[in-house]
Symmetry: C2
Subunit: 718 residues, 2 copies
């Protein structure tokens, strides 16, 4: 699945260039070539699934949810001409309420954890606006209502928004940002409200700075979400799915060891505690999984790890006896999800130095900590004692943000779990390999089936094809869910990088054009993500040329060998240069990190044409390799495998460093029919043949009958 | 010639990663992967030629100078056991003099213009210490004397420094920087003196900040260089060579047009005047050339361009009638070189807003401007008026440095000439092409001759070979000088990237090992820089493998096609990946900018494995393509051509942008004997054959006899 930047219009891509967990693309203080730099943005675009509509929690498998979402953007997301006037009217009444008293309210797409996939009850922007696209921000003033979204969603938003809403086409020339707009439309000195749970601390600070230009005040309304207030009884319940233990067989490292590691990091950084708020980090640290949201096996929670204690903040009902025992063994206590703020206060009052990843921790938590610290300092000051001297100074070497942290006991630094989670251990690698083979078997069966259907001219829509793929996957051991909504794009639809077919609007899959299928699954032991592009008829020379150029880029990256400490962006050019040679390119990154039985998108590494993410690729990391080419209104091509970063044994080792390379995890044939052999070097042809040999060797034992024949046919040497 | 970073130990390379004119490798405010970042350094390492010794100005061609320098590091640079005690004693007496009264004095290698090659009279560090290496900083306190240099010069410095000096091996673990050392050895609150002409403003500010940790004060002693004071009468005179007009035929654009451009930049940036202090920028803007220093056709001068005036600060005696007329036509007035400070004062007093490139403008100029502005503000303040309101704020978008510039009327930004000079016009390109063909003819004659000599076992040292090459070049029309000291390295010497043979210590060139020759010339119409590596006997399979890998990198970069706005560092991996595949690498950048009949190293562009320089490669820029491989104590390989960045016509133009590629300027055969054909793809073999066809076609008309035969033989298809 293409990384987020892939799914954005070029101008918005700046916001997400590093993937969800990457470093913010800050303005570099370099003095030359500044035109190249994009304005700093910390806004994280998350991929909100479309609202389901019946008020139920998302306890269903995402496959089921997708079907329902496919149905319509119905009741809960107001359709044009529906009740949206009433919603806006209610919201404006709230703005004016004396205990609120604000002039504008910003409703983002986020949940409190910066999640890529979020539960229905948190889809507030979709509820309020009726617009169900994954990315968007609504701003409501006393007399105006505007929604920002990017080029992917202009048409959809036009359709879904009522006339009360102004569509702000982000990235189009002259379109202001939300804060620029607020500075424009509000008279000086207004109060702009947000729910501080829904903004990372960095994002809130940035917003505060931006609107202070017009002397607006940013008002954090943490005890009342105004959209929830008007949503009322019809608001879906928060998800209450059971969590489960992610067995040591798959996790590889037990919880006490992981907590020890975190504590060693605390000690090294002179901290007493860390708050973990990213759901995949909590799940990874505690060897737990859940199903609160579609596609990602996570559960809503926070984790605080202290020198000698650890506390999981989660709805008690989600924790079975098994899980409780598992947590107790690791010395992890339970507290209610809502207790997070009071515990952060407690830490502040105890004078703890707290490690906070301000790029992901929400502003509610950070601000509670800061204000508690200040209160505490005052109190102790009165008592004639001094504390807080240990507070971290803004230090670029520790990744501190530009926060005034001289006054609080906080270290603002990327979470200690981020890198640890990205570097897979042996068991995780084993699970990823094993799940990829089962996934490959499902895909071979699927492609064999689809080829047959198209040959026999059975009419099948893009959605039906995706559903059938799900059926094949569901038959595999350990299948849990899709890892994202399948991108099934025939012909011109394949050129829409973020395409998501709906039953009403989708095309049939035929034999006249290219078919691009980007899909993935969550298994008990691993997460997959694969794209193949095929033609069931006769591809044009143009299609073959473009496909072959994309394939050359894929091969070049796959074969790369590089010294340790090389950031991913250095390799990006390898995937593009074959396309560049004929003046082609693609507007998305080349690779993103992938979790082990966790999120299909994870950081901190990436392989991208944006140069802000300096994270080195390290042994044990997993990245996707997915160059593409998209010809508007015509066809789309993407070839994606997942790769494991591994050490390579070479005859030399210049500079005494390790050299790294990739090992393929994905084993599904690449359609030979689309390859223009005349463009390939002998070594590229060799790569294809060796890959197909390996596919046959690894996957054929899992197949029989027609699928086995199909695999044999499709792994023949060129 | 390999870029400066090439010539540094890996740890010091950080300081020069962007070439002399690149952006300072500032610490990026990115929060992840910080271990990759190197500490910010702004110190510019310049390549000081060794001191000549007889007190004469460097009015000689550098070929002649090199011979003399080869002789010995004689009288003017004190040999061990010589008069160095007396020098130190004299200097310490000066430190104590009441009108000086400092506790330490820092003597860097620089001249007042951050030049790569400097005149003898400015080789103060070499005079004081006796150490004649090109890079080094001396610091003298009342009881200590220390010299910092990098790994290239440890052995030489040990030999040349007397026992009074402590050698500080920069880059070695535990070795403090100069400021760390000053903070260590001096008691708190001392006065540290520098000559502010010899530090860029940025470097001086950095130093000031660093020593303020120990409450030391940085004392700018601008009216007295303490080393000059003790050097006394024996100090060489400043160079007084005549300047000349660089004809419009070669310059392409006349001076009024260039000044108009600068003025349009002034207007765009709200400035009234700019000070240009880089000697190549002055020469380029005024279409003048000189010969004050070896290798670069520049002359000591400053230029101030104002809204309606322009003033060249130069020794009057250097300006002939011709040149005077040329300058008058363009409205450029003359003032003495020394008048620069008083003119800057005048500007401050007139309330002018001044554009200063603080990475290159020396601290003397900037500080005079600042103090004059402050005086002026006070004066006007008393008179009841307000000025200085226009003063620039520190703005990352304009490249402002972290200077407190709220109080002065200054814009700190890269010089307006930097990019303009880097993008060559048609006449400059024409001159570069033409001079490269004559250079190629000289090289063909040279290689033909050398091959014959070695075949007949004529004993020849590396120095003799370099001298003979110079003879062949001198015969070419328009030859002026070498563009840098020839790197002539046989066998193990070739592995020393910065190798400079001396008559006493150099090897003979034979047929048992590789011979690396990196050389270049200044012609009236262009500047060349080429490296070839050859074997006159039977190369080992290892040598062939390494050579072929380097060649593959060279070919890959040469053939690169890339969208406009691509920074050079993106392409660096193309030159390395063939080496990386077998665990090899090289510790220098891949490409540097080259001036047109100007400095052999220029910015702002570069192609490097360091990622700080975001300057996009642009049509008309010239870069070197010089991957290499160096096997310690064994052999060195480098293959270098100069390339012109050009627009390429492609069948597509994705994203509506231009695509760029390279056109070769250098046409000298690459030795086929060293190529392992089995490693090459058909397209790589094709590249070599096409290149050699082109070499034959372009250079054969300039040759006859044996040289023509040699060229025919060496351009035969593989």
């Amino acid at each position: 699945m293409a990384i987020e930047a892939a799914r954005l219009s070029p101008s918005l891509a700046a916001a997400a260039i590093l993937g969800r967990r990457g470093a913010p693309p800050a303005a570099l203080p370099l003095r030359r070539a500044l035109p190249l730099l994009l304005p700093p943005r910390r806004r994280r675009l998350c991929f909100l699934a479309a609202a389901g509509g019946d008020g139920r929690a998302v306890a269903l498998p995402s496959s089921e949810l997708r079907k329902r979402r496919g149905g319509a953007s119905s009741s809960s997301s107001a359709a044009p001409g529906g009740g949206e006037d009433e919603k806006l009217r209610s919201l404006r009444r709230l703005l004016a309420r004396p205990d609120v008293a604000i002039d504008a309210y910003i409703v983002p797409s986020q949940d409190a954890h910066q999640s890529e996939f979020i539960a229905e009850c948190f889809m507030r922007r979709a509820y309020l606006t009726g617009f169900t696209g994954s990315a968007g921000t609504a701003v409501v003033t006393k007399d105006k209502a505007a929604l920002w979204t990017d080029g992917r969603y202009f048409l959809q938003a036009e359709k879904e928004l009522s006339h009360d809403w102004t569509l702000m086409r982000s990235g189009n020339q002259g379109v202001p940002t939300t804060s620029e707009w607020l500075n424009e439309v509000l008279p000086s000195g207004c109060r702009v409200g947000i729910d501080p749970f829904l903004f990372s601390f960095d994002a809130a600070e940035e917003l505060k700075d931006a609107i202070s230009e017009k002397n607006h005040e940013l008002v954090l309304i943490k005890d009342l979400n105004l959209v929830d207030e008007i949503w009322g009884e019809s608001r879906p319940e928060p998800p209450k799915e059971q969590t489960r233990v992610h067995g040591i067989k798959y996790a590889g490292v037990d919880v006490p060891s992981k907590l020890s590691f975190v504590r060693s990091q605390l000690a090294e950084n002179g901290c007493n505690a860390v708050v973990i708020s990213l759901l995949d980090e909590v799940a990874w640290l505690l060897n737990m999984r859940g199903s609160d949201v579609p596609n990602s096996p996570v559960f809503y929670s926070y984790l605080i790890v202290e020198d000698t204690a650890a506390t999981l903040f989660v709805d008690n009902n989600k924790v079975s006896e098994d899980v409780l025992e598992h947590l107790e063994k690791a010395g992890v206590k339970l507290k209610p999800y809502e207790a997070i703020l009071s515990d952060v206060e407690r830490l502040a009052e105890n004078g703890a130095k707290l490690w906070l990843d301000s790029s992901s921790i929400n502003a509610a938590i950070v601000n509670v900590f800061r204000s508690s610290c200040e209160r505490y300092v005052k109190k102790r000051g009165k008592a004639g004692r001094q504390i807080g001297k240990e507070s971290s100074q803004g230090d670029p070497a520790t990744g501190s943000s530009g926060v005034q942290n001289g006054t609080v006991n906080a270290l603002y630094k990327v979470s200690p779990a981020t890198l640890a989670k990205a570097v897979k251990n042996e068991a995780e690698v084993e699970g990823m390999k094993s799940s990829h083979l089962r996934d490959a078997a499902a895909l071979a069966e699927f492609w064999c089936w689809l080829e047959g259907q198209v040959r026999e001219s059975v009419p099948l829509t893009e959605v039906q094809v995706a559903e059938k793929l799900l059926e094949f996957r569901q038959k595999q051991d350990g299948f849990i869910d899709t890892s994202f909504d399948t991108i099934s794009g025939y012909g011109a639809n394949g050129a829409i990088i973020h395409y998501r077919p709906t039953p009403e609007s989708c095309s049939s899959v035929g034999s006249d054009n290219l078919f691009l299928l980007d899909s993935g699954a969550q298994y008990i032991d691993g997460t997959t993500d694969i794209t193949r592009t095929v033609h069931f008829g006769e591809p044009t020379p143009r299609q073959k040329e473009c496909f072959t150029r994309v394939l050359q880029g894929h091969i070049a990256l796959d074969q790369a060998v590089f010294p340790e400490r090389t950031p991913g962006f250095v390799l990006d050019v390898l995937a593009r240069s074959s396309l560049w040679k004929i003046g082609l390119d693609y507007r998305h990154g080349t690779g993103h990190g992938v979790g082990a039985a966790l999120n299909v998108h994870e950081g901190p590494q990436s392989i991208s044409y944006r140069y802000g993410n300096l994270t080195a690729l390290q042994k044990g990391m997993i990245v996707s390799n997915e160059p593409g080419y998209y010809e508007d209104n015509s066809f789309g091509i993407r070839i994606e495998n997942l790769l494991l970063v591994k050490e390579v044994n070479l005859p030399n080792s210049f500079g005494g460093v390790s050299y790294l390379g990739f090992e393929k995890l994905t084993f599904v044939p690449i359609q030979s029919k689309l390859v223009d052999l005349s463009l390939l070097s002998p070594s590229e042809i060799n790569w294809i043949n060796e890959y197909h040999d390996e596919v046959w060797e690894k996957v054929s034992p899992l197949l029989s009958g027609h699928s086995l024949d199909w695999l044999r046919k499709n792994t023949r040497p060129l």
